[in-house]
């Protein structure tokens, strides 16, 4: 039986600000992908991303608190505020040395790194902006969360490309299981910046879409990734303590697994074995079989290499000869970013909590060169007990998490 419960969720996403707006956006299969308005995209092969719109940090914290924070830190702190409030935890009544913060981010504040380096290039060492430098470290968002809530327990940030948030969650389960901490605020945050966009454009990774109207964009699988941004924080605590205080439980984390395999820099593990291995390990740990899984959250991100490989491995795992299996590739809606795992976990937990399945596509639809536009099957009420979240990143890492319903 799972020992870890999730009792609070906070989300800042391209689908909406706050947990409820995010959930409603998920249920509608609303795309967060839109033409970029925050910087000039004319020199890039793409002009779309899943950017966070209408986020007002003042709705979460006083301006004095966030004035020097980067966008990624602001989103992270805001998500943590919502998650803590949602959990009903009275932090002041807790031993805050036994409360942890673990965040995942692939690049942290890429905009602050860029602005600081530009100030150096433009004005030389004496013109370099000291106020920007502290925000260039990837652990800045987790440190701001600690400062805001006065949480003095273990604090760490994980950078593992697209599975950064998943790796943070796995570390949290480890410290909860080892009884080092009682509660952990776990999640991820990432910001979209022009330099990040330029870097992905330079390596040829972006989906070359040039959208003309400011409407939601629904790309085709296999065309290349769509960048996203956002933050999500989960409150994880021991099931016993959640039960004792009568907390509202979204779901339980039944098991986690991570593996890796040989991969060329910038590419996914060719064999695809890690996907299969981590899923099997996670299911074995949870004591369930493929038939027991009611929902699959895939890490497909429109990249030809990943989506085809993941589709093939899930087909093997579930022995789905026709490719008719339903999967939810949430990154098709929210874009891809280092913290996407936290956002996906939030969606899975909300789905288990509401007993409403997330919109899904067929496994075969993840493969590129499909003749028809992607068809989303709508969200619907359904008995959901076990959900598998599989995640894979370029560089060769893979992680799987199994969440179970608390009902």
């Amino acid at each position: 039986m799972s020992e870890i419960s999730i009792t609070g969720i906070g989300v800042i996403s391209s689908l909406g600000i706050g947990r409820q707006a995010f959930w409603e956006g998920c249920c509608r299969a609303q795309s967060g992908v839109r033409p970029i308005r925050t910087f000039d995209t004319s020199s890039y092969r793409s002009n779309v991303a899943a950017s966070v719109a209408d986020f007002k940090p003042a709705e979460f914290m006083p301006p004095m608190v966030y004035r020097r924070m980067s966008a990624v830190s602001r989103m992270a702190v805001a998500a943590s505020i919502e998650a803590v409030s949602d959990s009903g935890l009275d932090l002041k009544a807790l031993d805050r040395q036994r409360v942890a913060i673990f965040m995942g981010t692939a690049y942290g504040s890429s905009s602050h790194v860029d602005q600081f380096y530009l100030s150096l290039l433009n004005e030389g060492p004496r013109g370099a902006q000291p106020l920007l430098f502290p925000e260039t470290v990837p652990n800045a968002p987790a440190s701001h969360i600690a400062m805001f809530h006065q949480i003095q327990g273990p604090n760490a940030t994980f950078c593992q490309n697209d599975i950064s948030a998943e790796v943070a969650m796995i570390y949290a389960t480890s410290l909860l299981a080892l009884d080092v901490v009682d509660v952990a605020l776990v999640g991820g945050a990432e910001e979209l910046s022009e330099i990040l966009f330029a870097c992905h454009d330079a390596v040829g990774g972006l989906n070359p879409i040039q959208a003309k109207v400011p409407e939601e964009v629904y790309p085709q699988p296999g065309g290349g990734i769509i960048l996203g941004e956002g933050a999500a924080v989960l409150v994880m605590e021991k099931r016993t303590s959640a039960g004792q205080r009568g907390a509202n439980v979204y779901g339980n984390l039944a098991s986690d697994a991570s593996t890796g395999d040989l991969a060329v820099m910038g590419h996914y593990a060719k064999s695809g074995d890690p996907v299969l291995k981590t899923c099997r390990q996670a299911m074995a740990q949870a004591g369930i079989k493929p038939d027991d899984i009611d929902h699959i959250s895939a890490s497909a991100n429109y990249a030809k290499e990943l989506d085809a490989m993941e589709s093939e491995q899930l087909q093997r795992l579930f022995q789905d000869q026709r490719g008719a299996l339903k999967v939810t590739p949430l990154k098709y809606l929210t874009g891809d970013f280092g913290a996407a795992g936290a956002t996906r976990a939030a969606a899975v937990l909300l789905s288990l909590y509401h007993q409403i399945s997330l919109p899904a596509v067929t496994l075969s639809a993840l493969r590129s060169n499909q003749p028809d536009p992607l068809k989303w099957m709508p969200a619907q009420s359904q008995k959901l007990t076990n959900a598998l979240m599989t995640s894979t990143t370029f560089g060769g890492g893979s992680a799987s998490l199994i969440f179970t319903s608390a009902k």
Binding site: P130, V137, N139, N155, A156, L178, M265, G396
Partner: protein, 410 residues
Amino acid sequence: MGRPVAVTGLGIFCAIGKDLPQFRTNLFKGTCGIAEVDLFDLAGYSCRLGAQIRDSGLRERLPSRQTKRISRCDLLGLIAAREALQNARIDMQKMDPSRMGVIMGGGAGGMLSWEKFRREIWQDQHRRYASRVLASAPCTLTDLIASHYGVTGPRSTITTACSSSANAIGYGFDLIRSGRLDCVIAGGSEALCELTFAGFHSLKVMSPEPCRPFDRNRKGLSLGEGAGIVVLEASENAVKRGASALAEITGYALNSDAYHMTSPDPEGMGMVRVMTAALKQSGTDPGLIDYINAHGTATKINDKMESQAIERVFGDEGLGRIRVSATKSMVGHCLGASGAIEAIATILAIDQQMLPPTVHLNEIDPECRLNHVTQTGIQKTIRAALSNSFAFGGNNTSLIFRSAGISDQV
């Protein structure tokens, strides 16, 4: 407590040692690796010093297929990882790769490569080298080590600035003691780059002379670069394969000051708490600690706070008995790699039963009244030792190592 965990291999590449024997010799001799940096243009800086690795044949140290397109940071890390595995006498053919993991601590990673790419955009150069972008992610070294050695277990990259690689070693310890893995390659790597050099320069914390931790006349830190990698194994497995333990890792703790992005808690309470928690979690009586490898950056505030914190944790008895040194005075502040490099210095101290010194410590600051080791190494019985790492963002970590086979009795 879980399974005992042994350190069976070390690998290092830094300004005072291009391999373990050279590092060991220079560490105990008190050799300073801090000199003028020429890795990038330093015009306009008031400080031009750093512990830079000088090796014109750096890329030839590994087969060319391994070094193609990788960053300086990852190159240093791969060299150190190779040495660590050789030092541990690991034969990958005889290991179960799925029971092995790679946990690295990252700092600026391949920033030096990214800076070249960014400069090309800034100069509006038409030709841009995309490979420089690929080499810049903080987790590239983790993936490269795992791929090169066929490690298929969990991999993670921790980025908590200056405590990153200390945390990586701590996480590796957890993975083995909990039974999840049998062997972990842990550590970190850092290369000097313009961004961090300009960043610390803009904060006015860099010393115009080689840094002198705990000295009354200290003027700030000296940056450095290097890689430190350790091989951690379940002690029982190490014994079975006939490997000798250089030391045991018995515990660690990490926490947050929750106070300020760049300044430590003025009472040093985060430091006090992390050392206390590490001692408690490792089941180590403070009376067993004979040596502390201090974070010792040589900034006014860090050294004072750290001294006060050590005093509060170990009391007057400990203050007089426990010897303290800051090896950053020789290798510079290697940021993401510093925790691992200092862990290696601590493990070598235990293995050799010799204390490394703080060099340039001529006049001990009365506010840093610790039992310092100065100028050169000295022989001493070291039963257990503690290594501190305190970072930007208020991230603190303490690691505890013990001489293999030492009992819990004080």
